[in-house]
């Protein structure tokens, strides 16, 4: 059964403080804005590093990709011009992975959506929560 999106939030301490969103339900055209809004609130409250736990997300549409893209841009907003230029070079040569936004345990269907759109090229995908939190630095 498809289900509306619910988001719970926790703070974890790795090498740096990491905000974790536990997402339950589907990220679709009706729910992606809720994800963006939650991310914006967290960012405004000081979140710099965000892990999205997708373990219980069965379905994500292109609207979910739009949310990920907007959150990626939001978390990069404070980067200096020099860092932005370096990031762009890294994106173009395929070596860049976001240090601020990472994903945990996407399903096979969600992984396919991420790879079809090229999002797996710049977002790290983890399968273990502790390793994921520890990878932020």
């Amino acid at each position: 059964m498809a289900s509306p999106l619910k988001i719970t939030v926790s703070q974890e301490q790795g090498q740096v403080p990491v905000t974790v969103f536990y997402l339950v339900g589907d990220i679709d055209g009706s729910s992606y804005e809720e994800l963006q809004t939650q991310a914006k609130s967290a960012y405004e409250a000081g979140t710099q590093y965000l892990l999205l736990d997708l373990t219980k997300v069965k379905y994500m549409s292109s609207a979910g990709l739009r949310a990920l893209h907007n959150i990626f841009d939001l978390l990069n907003a404070k980067a200096s011009e020099e860092v932005q230029k370096k990031m762009k070079r890294g994106i173009l040569d395929g070596s860049y992975k976001s240090p601020y936004l990472k994903l945990l345990n996407p399903s096979r269907d969600v992984t396919r959506t991420l790879s079809t759109s090229g999002f797996d090229m710049f977002l790290e995908i983890h399968t273990n929560a502790k390793t994921a939190v520890a990878s932020f630095n």
């Binding site: 498809a2 679709d28 055209g29 994106i91 173009l92 959506t113």
Partner: protein, 148 residues
């Protein structure tokens, strides 16, 4: 009898979950492979979301989804009464540009096209839109002849 199922409703984006459930239940009734059901679900969800967002501009609007067997193929029809618009004519995003350097959004049609074999559009004489999705050779000859 060929297999056929339809759902029509005055929808908003909140109804996308109901539409995906309809696809899932129909796919199981038709005996489709779970992988194919996931592809049909994605294509129909994206197409209906486009109609609701761009056709009806996020206001409630009538949509009909028909899933049916035609010979060996599985067909999906998305019918609506919004302003005529042919999504098959929309140029695809330039995928040679890495995703984070493109504008956010615009991936819906790309996901639809990779999820099916053929996408067609018709403008019904009475107005509105009819989007036709085709998955080829889904059924075997015995099913195509006898139904199930």
């Amino acid at each position: 009898m060929p297999l056929s199922a339809s759902l029509s409703l005055v929808a908003t984006k909140k109804d996308l979950t109901e539409i995906r459930d309809f696809i899932e239940e129909t796919g199981k009734k038709f005996g489709l492979d779970p992988e194919l059901i996931a592809q049909v679900r994605l294509a129909v969800d994206e197409a209906v979301a486009n109609v609701l967002e761009h056709g009806y501009r996020n206001q409630p609007g009538w949509v009909e989804v028909i899933i049916q067997q035609e010979q060996l193929d599985l067909m999906g029809y998305i019918i609506d009464k919004s302003m005529p618009f042919d999504p098959t004519q929309v140029p695809p995003p330039d995928l040679s540009i890495p995703a984070p350097l493109r504008s956010p959004g615009g991936m819906g049609l790309t996901l639809i096209k990779q999820a099916l074999d053929e996408l067609r559009y018709e403008a019904p004489p009475a107005g509105g839109n009819r989007l036709i999705m085709i998955w080829q050779n889904v059924f075997d000859n015995s099913t195509a002849t006898n139904g199930s």
